[in-house]
Symmetry: C2
């Protein structure tokens, strides 16, 4: 019988110092002793990436993207070697590999590369030698033409999740475990909603919406990659031994057809262009320069025009608000709009569940619940599996509690139990 192959990923907080690295090593050693072949993806230790960024910004305001990638990649090289050493200290054979050594090639875009190919020859050879293979996450090389001519590229924040899922897909791993500082995916943020409950399973699409809407447990791209490649991902705690949440194609969605969880996002600000002339081409004039500046726009709402002008509102990430204003000031003058107003004390709250779109009752129940709780809705947007409302930030906890109760999220149901049973056997 073949030994099962498990890919595990440990984030920066799990390897933040020598003690935690030793703890991670003990966990890996246990899994190894249980008879699995293991490929382990690690992020940089704790705040290393931020420290390297500030080192670069101490030198120049605009560090070159290529140089920055080479600099940042060292963080994962370091943690990978240290985890490998910690395994040696436990008498577990192990070897660390850089992204390029692990055969990960990317499309070569610095700072936000996408994995183009995984050729895990070296990984397989090391597994056959009996090694646990520790792979530096978050990185790859731009081409497989040899080290001399290729460049080191990084996958963007949280890219180690993507590394893990890509390796699991390429190696046809039996499991892909993502260890984090939370125990799994919850029906809502347990820090804000005390009755929030951990989900045993969640579908890819639902997880994508949760991730998009601010649940920062997993990188969006990693979930997408898992979906496309049918990799079952388990999110679980690196600090305690407990089952996590499985992200996978969910055959029970059709039976369930209900709200699975709440997401919220405080990293958002509302921008309103007041009294914009109501004529064709205005939207392009507003949004093209924002796109060029790399500022993501979300939840666009345009009020019904009156007197030849209209108000246009949308959201941007809160950290980008200053830049967005700078970009928009000349646009407002060009359009002859009255002014730009902004509000950074807002938040988004979403209900997420496969099939919500086909069940109009959910939207009505969401709006009614918020109204009953005295929470004013400023904007609304929807997708196939999500309904999102923008509200005042200081009403976020009230809104989450009310919605969590209204959709009975604290109560595990028969479908969850069946799903959990299915998983244990899977």
């Amino acid at each position: 019988m073949e030994r099962p192959l498990v890919v595990q990923k440990f984030g920066g907080s799990s390897v933040a110092n020598a003690d935690r690295i030793r703890r991670v090593a003990r966990r890996i050693a246990r899994e190894r002793a249980a008879g699995s072949d293991l490929v382990v993806v690690v992020s940089a230790m704790g705040d290393t990436t931020d420290e390297l960024l500030s080192l670069a910004h101490g030198i120049t305001d605009e560090p070159d993207a290529r140089e920055l990638d080479m600099l940042l990649a060292t963080g994962e090289h370091q943690s990978a070697t240290l985890v490998s050493m910690a395994l040696h200290a436990l008498h577990v054979d192990a070897i660390s590999l850089t992204g390029p050594q692990a055969g990960i090639t990317t499309d070569g875009r610095f700072g936000r590369a996408r994995i183009a190919n995984v050729e895990p020859r070296r990984i397989r050879a090391e597994l056959e030698r009996g090694n646990v293979v520790i792979v530096a996450g978050f990185q790859g090389q731009s081409a497989s033409a040899g080290a001399e001519l290729s460049e080191i590229t990084t996958l963007g924040r949280g890219g180690s999740d993507t590394t893990a899922v890509a390796l699991a897909a390429a190696l046809k791993a039996d499991r892909c475990q993502v260890f984090t500082d939370v125990k799994g995916i919850y029906t809502a943020d347990p820090r804000l909603v005390p009755t929030a409950r951990q989900l045993p399973v969640i579908g890819y699409e639902e997880m994508l919406e949760l991730a998009h809407q601010g649940a920062q447990v997993m990188q969006v791209r990693a979930v997408e990659l898992g979906w496309v490649n049918d990799v079952v991902i388990e999110v679980l705690s690196s600090f305690e031994d407990a089952p996590g949440t499985l992200i996978r194609e969910d055959p029970l969605v059709e039976q369930r057809n209900k709200v699975r969880g709440l997401a919220h996002d405080r990293n958002v600000a509302k921008v309103t262009l007041v009294a914009v002339p109501d004529r064709p081409g205005v939207a392009r004039t507003v949004f093209d320069p924002l796109a060029e500046a790399g500022i993501n726009v979300d939840m666009i709402v345009q009020n019904v025009g009156h007197g030849g002008t209209t108000d246009m509102s949308f959201t941007v990430p809160r950290a980008e608000l200053g830049r967005a204003k700078k970009v928009l000031d000349p646009v407002v003058r060009e359009l002859g709009a009255r002014e730009v107003t902004t509000d950074a004390s807002v938040a988004k709250v979403s209900i997420v569940g496969a099939g919500l779109h086909n069940a109009p009752g959910y939207a009505a129940r969401m709006f009614g619940t918020l109204a009953d709780a005295g929470v004013n809705i400023e904007m609304i947007s929807t997708s196939e599996v999500r309904i999102t409302c923008m509200i005042a930030e200081d009403e976020l906890a009230t809104a989450l509690a009310a919605l969590h109760g209204a959709f009975e999220l604290a109560r595990p149901d028969a479908v969850d139990a069946a799903a959990a049973g299915g998983l244990a056997a899977g």
Copy 2:
């Protein structure tokens, strides 16, 4: 006319923080503006290598040599990217390369690799694109078979000097400048001998002896490599603009034939095996286990035997004294010797100059000078270009001052002036 090609090397103290990195960048930019093509080799920032070592030792007492090399190599990756960024901020085109990207392959011995080959294709291509090329020192890859299968290897402490000289040789550079925290090579350590004078030029062989005997300005192997490949190396200060010392084949040696400088070494301890049986094979019994333990032995002296036993003394690096004693205790019992005595409060002082060996007067003058100064000589060893005496450590300054005076080292002479003139034209 071809642009001159200059290789520059900056050590860890020259790039220890953002300010110093910016200063290094300004110096590089000046040289660039003067019309040179430039390849710049950098060490890790300040104490980075020590910090990485202590990180590894926080995980395990005996870090794996392969993992340690991959860990330590990140220090130079980081400094190389930061120097490149600092040049960009000065509007100088630059690119950083890892040792493997720079085409440096080694014999694959972790922690003490030797450069096996330099294939500077990528460096030449980047120079042609108009870039200043910043190369991470101290490292290479174990084979040129592609990143997947090769390993990162480091060249041992001070290995960046070797990287610079090897690149200068491979690129047939016009100059190889090693920037340090001293202004050049001195007739003696200026901290101990106030009249010590900077030498405008020194031969490879003399420099080798100075380096071997404790002058820590340059790595021994880098000097050897320069000698074999006829690379003229200039040692100069990274903190001030002043001519340094040239290390090169010295056509004036025959005319000079005199003491060029003094070296001293405090990192030494004396070991004496008392009353060792005077029979064949004893030396092997003593020195084989020390060699196996990787402890370098120097200055071996065996007293004339009397009564069938003899005393045997030698020196070891002071930091190795504890280990040496542990290795020797069973040896003493095996041999039936009386005891091992040790003395860590000793130092070596050397006079260095090409051709000393053929001029016996120098030895006599050295011994006489030390006697007149009241300094007792405990051991003596000589080479072609050096005479070394072991003395008590607390008499070191007295000995250096006396020898510096006796050999008239404070006075520049006609030969030096001629040498300097020759260099300026070279």
